[in-house]
Symmetry: C2
Subunit: 197 residues, 2 copies
DNA sequence: TGGGTTCTTGACCGCCCATTCAAGAACTGC
DNA sequence: GCAGTTCTTGAATGGGCGGTCAAGAACCCA
């Protein structure tokens, strides 16, 4: 046995996530991470490895949180509504409007290590798979229609996150969610209920 | 009069655009710009000012090219189809899959100078306005429906560009365009013609 | 109490960044 | 051909980057 570490990994990882989420991978320096976590560079490297490993860790935790935020809401069309509304809610609920860590990372994914890039890509794939599952539960049969609806709902989710980061007003983001959902329900032959505004 | 410059501004600006488009603002160094343009740093600074000014210039040229690429296609629903198909075409037509310079810049817009940021925001606003104009031409009256349709089509365009940069297959991007267009035509009461696949 | 192990500290490394500048080169007008 | 002006060159600047490391501190166990 030896000297115990003076910090807990969880809150430190959360602080690293905050830093990466706000400034992105490239523009977040080790000094930023050190300031955000309260740990000196040496301790960060001893505990987590290099910047790449820190980002991969943080991205994995982010995916888990996203998964939890979008879970529930029941099956069928209600579940779809729940997912899209949750996307809007978490987007505008962040006062810093940081958008989605995974999507923000796409333009700089060439700067990521392969493992970190894999975490990002798997996370996005999971979100797309969630929408597909919900559509299947809503009674949409496999086929071209399903593909098109998954694409549309995925696109809506991505755009809500991107335009949320760009600072667009909630109304636009909600219009995207409503428009995509109305399209999905109509095309799938599910009675859609227009959302009150 | 004095010594004439040994290069033309236009092809040099085009080279700068290529560099920024590929690697983004932050990760593109002056050395990158120098290598891409064939000019030494001193000449770049003398001709264009600092990195910020170079990016603002380049972004303005990019907007002009985008405007040209999306123009035409006639009025009404045909014009809308033309715009969305053009977005898909220019996205998958780029072998490097660089996506949209403006949208790629959103996550790092905090690193931009205010003038450069303004160019980016105006460019995106112009694209949204183009979709709104086309919808009006297609007979959609002003009101909540118009807002929702603009939002959906804009979201589709943004997502096509983002997911194109992420390397997704053409099929997904075309599904997004088709889904959004089908939704728009259906919701607007315009007879939609399903696209052949 | 003392040896062994692990953690923390903060200075340090070499490199690359955006930017500047003095010196030389190339041109025009006289 | 000379003066004046502008352009090009290439090195230099200070600062920040990701990453490392030796030294000291804190702990467990014997």
């Amino acid at each position: 046995m030896a000297r115990p570490r003076e910090f807990e990994a969880d809150p430190v990882a959360e602080a690293l996530l905050d830093a990466f989420w706000q400034r992105g991978f490239t523009r977040t320096s080790i000094a930023d991470l050190s300031a955000a976590s309260g740990l000196l560079p040496g301790s960060l490297y001893a505990a987590f490895g290099g910047k790449d490993a820190m980002f991969a860790l943080v991205a994995g935790r982010y995916v888990a949180k996203l998964r939890a935020a979008l879970a529930g809401g029941g099956a069928g069309i209600a579940g779809l509504r729940h997912v899209l509304d949750a996307v809007v809610r978490i987007t505008v609920g962040d006062p810093d409007r940081r958008g989605c860590l995974l999507i923000n990372t796409i333009p700089e994914s060439a700067a990521l290590s392969p493992p970190a890039r894999a975490v990002v890509e798997r996370g996005l794939g999971e979100m797309r798979a969630l929408l597909r599952r919900r559509l299947r539960e809503a009674g949409v049969p496999r086929g071209g229609d399903l593909d098109r609806l998954v694409a549309l709902l995925f696109a809506a989710s991505v755009a809500i996150r991107v335009l949320g980061r760009a600072g667009h007003e909630r109304r636009l983001l909600q219009d995207i969610a409503d428009g995509a959902l109305a399209a999905a329900t109509a095309a799938a032959g599910i009675p859609a209920r227009r959302r009150a505004r």
